[in-house]
Symmetry: C2
Subunit: 90 residues, 2 copies
Amino acid sequence: MLNKTFSALADNNRQKIIDLLKKREMSVSDIVSHLNITMATLSHHLDILKRADLISGRRDGQKIIYSLNFSVIQEVEEKIVKFLKIKNKK
Amino acid sequence: MLNKTFSALADNNRQKIIDLLKKREMSVSDIVSHLNITMATLSHHLDILKRADLISGRRDGQKIIYSLNFSVIQEVEEKIVKFLKIKNKK
DNA sequence: TTATTATTTAGATATATATCTAAATATCTA
DNA sequence: TAGATATTTAGATATATATCTAAATAATAA
């Protein structure tokens, strides 16, 4: 369950994409200009982030604009914190 | 940096290992009895978790006892929270 | 409608990873 | 020291993944 999330986040380029989208939503070509990969590779990474429900894309004319799924990310954050919280010895 | 952590956590069996060790420290044979993998495979997973600094093992006679690295996990948690925190539009 | 721009899909490749069996190593006990 | 128990290492295999180039699809502009 957290699995898909951790896998999605376990890649440098995908972490960078998240970081970029924290600042503002961006088109695919915007994003690719900040990374050292081809469009095709970026498309693949966006797909993984979409499947993990961390980002969404909407079409705006010729472009597709990606943005973070804020509420999902917040839930994910809570789940991770819960997962990593060490209970006091019971 | 968070990369190694996310990769280490991006596997079901390793998540289970973390969950087991949250309750108490355990020997390798203890752990393997809770999972559906061979000793060799477990050894591999323990290695990955050790390299990510999430767990440590100490020898106790014939056995090696693994436990969580509490302080590291807490730091990791903080880093992840920071990473996933969405800044207010600046 | 044709050309241009933006993105995705298909297909290939190389590397990483999860798993296994078998062998090696380490500690303890008789 | 020999045998038993616990863990790791070596080597093999199958699957997943990150990447690329080239082709396909979608929207806009001329």
